[in-house]
């Protein structure tokens, strides 16, 4: 079970788990619930560069399309092929098996990332 208080969050409902300079990124349970059942995930390719705040992928549910914003700048080092094959992982395990990409962080983290308490206030 992921310790949600150890994660950082964005106002676009991504979560970030930092391990050294590698950031694992997913979308929160709140975002997954709002989307409904996820049926298609498009993620950036490995080795591609992403910039904080830019759209870098798409998450489609039966009802709508959500954009994936890069929560920080860096280089994609790994893509979760399991979630591409089975997008329902985003709903079933948003903080675990439903992770989306791993980014090697380039430079400083954006200053506007939220801690758990601030994210809970945002979605209350």
């Amino acid at each position: 079970m992921t310790d949600l208080t150890s994660l950082r969050y964005t106002s676009e409902h991504e979560w970030i788990a930092l391990d050294g300079d590698i950031a694992t990124v997913g979308i929160t349970d709140f975002a997954a619930d709002k989307l409904g059942d996820v049926v298609f995930v498009e993620l950036p390719g490995a080795d591609s560069a992403v910039s904080a705040g830019d759209v870098c992928g798409e998450i489609e549910s039966t009802k709508s399309v959500g954009e994936l914003y890069a929560p920080l700048s860096g280089t994609v080092v790994e893509v979760n092929d399991a979630v591409v094959d089975d997008p329902s992982l985003v709903n079933a395990e948003p903080f675990a098996g439903g992770w989306l990409i791993k980014i090697r962080v380039d430079g400083d983290l954006p200053g506007d990332l939220l801690d758990r308490a601030a994210y809970e206030d945002l979605t209350a």
Binding site: G36, V39, E58, E60, T62, K63, S64, S88
Partner: protein
């Protein structure tokens, strides 16, 4: 002075939905369940066993009196007077220009008695259309100034007195038959044809049971007075649980009706669309002497866009509002689209130029900058085994 929108209305079953953990959405001015758990699971339950929907947001209008049948022939597109008592019929409310004000189901409940079920968001528009038609209607051409005798025609919106619950899916008949407290007093459920209704009671209250729906599956729509609504909801859910019955929200309802090729007002239907464009020409009895909208239907341009079905491969679905192209030319726009949960590939309905509407025509959909191939196909996308 600022206009503040009216807060959404809540269903008489709202506390049941909250207890079941539903997520809600505003639909037609009502705060209704969009899903309880997973919209895909709810969708599949309806195709494979059964689902229970609260559709109390829909409007019920009783039309009765000696002039009722003739009035409905005038205010609706179909020939309502030809309906047999006990039957249901899909029909349209048209504007004078032939555009669609709403699509409705009419139930003939007696020689002089009808129930019209309209969309929640069009409740006011339908009531206004009925009132305007009543003023304009001249039932007897020889007395052109005659106004309809109030005693001969009563139009009564009874939406606020009832809840409407849809039980849909192949197990629906068995579930309703085994629901404690439900007694069928009219035609037996297993003898009731599709698009027909029967009478019953539930805990002593009158229960109107219609074999109609908006999912492409067999099933029933149950009209029940408010006081018994929650108890009926609970009883049906409990009776159906062993068969896999689950409560279903509007998200599943939308993908089910899309697969079944059924139009949704505001998407496939609007005042800017005439019935023939939406493939609903059969719903208009053009040979009727006079009916609202008749004059407008003759002036529709031949190049007006028409409704088609589109199927694609892969998993990326075209959505409402996305452009449809033929070669490099934009030829239309999607009105509803989703990855079909039952079929596993994207499906969409779109209005396209007649020249691009032939079955088998290869088109593309602009999915946020990417061209996705799509083939014009016959509706519906999904048809249950009879």
């Amino acid at each position: 002075m600022t206009d503040t929108p009216a807060p959404p209305r809540t269903s008489p079953l709202n506390d049941r939905h909250e207890a079941l953990g539903a997520s809600f959405t505003d639909f037609g001015g009502w705060n209704m369940p969009v899903r309880y758990t997973s919209d895909l699971a709810e969708h599949h339950a309806v195709r494979q066993s059964a689902g229970l929907f609260d559709i109390s947001h829909m409007a019920e209008i009783v039309v009765d009196g000696p002039a009722a049948a003739a009035f409905l022939d005038y205010v609706l597109a179909g020939r309502i007077s030809a309906m047999k008592v006990g039957k249901a019929k899909y029909s349209l409310v048209l504007a004078e220009n032939g555009g669609i004000v709403d699509d409705v189901i009419v139930y003939r409940t007696g020689e002089q008695d009808f129930l019209v079920i309209a969309n929640a968001g069009n409740r006011d528009a339908v009531n206004e259309a009925f009132a305007a038609a009543r003023d304009a209607w001249r039932p007897d051409a020889s007395t052109s100034s005659a106004v309809v005798d109030p005693a001969a025609l009563r139009v009564d919106d009874v939406t606020d007195d009832y809840a409407l619950i849809a039980l849909q899916g192949p197990e629906a008949c068995g579930i309703l038959s085994s629901t404690p407290g439900v007694e069928i007093t009219g035609t037996a459920l297993d003898a009731l044809g599709y698009y027909a209704w029967t009478d019953g009671t539930f805990d002593g209250a009158p229960l109107f049971v219609a074999r109609t729906g908006y999912t492409g599956e067999d099933g029933y729509e149950l009209l029940i007075p408010l006081a018994q609504a929650a108890a009926l909801w609970d009883a049906v859910l409990a009776a159906g649980k062993p068969d896999g019955l689950v409560p279903c929200g509007l998200a599943a309802r939308d993908t089910l009706r899309l697969e079944a090729g059924m139009p949704l007002y505001g998407h496939e239907l609007s005042r800017d669309i005439v019935p023939a464009q939406a493939g609903l020409g059969r719903a208009v009895a053009v040979d009727k002497e006079a009916f609202v909208g008749k004059g407008g239907l003759s002036s529709v341009p031949a190049d007006a866009p028409v409704l088609v079905g589109l199927v694609s491969e892969g998993r990326r679905a075209g959505r409402a509002g996305y452009s449809v192209l033929h070669g490099d030319d934009t030829v239309g726009e999607i009105t509803s689209g989703a990855l079909s949960p039952t079929l596993g590939h994207p499906v969409a309905m779109a209005f396209v130029a007649p020249a691009a509407s032939a079955l088998g025509t290869e088109l593309t959909i602009d999915v946020r900058g990417t061209r996705i191939p799509a083939t014009v196909t016959a509706l519906p996308f999904y048809r249950r085994n009879a």
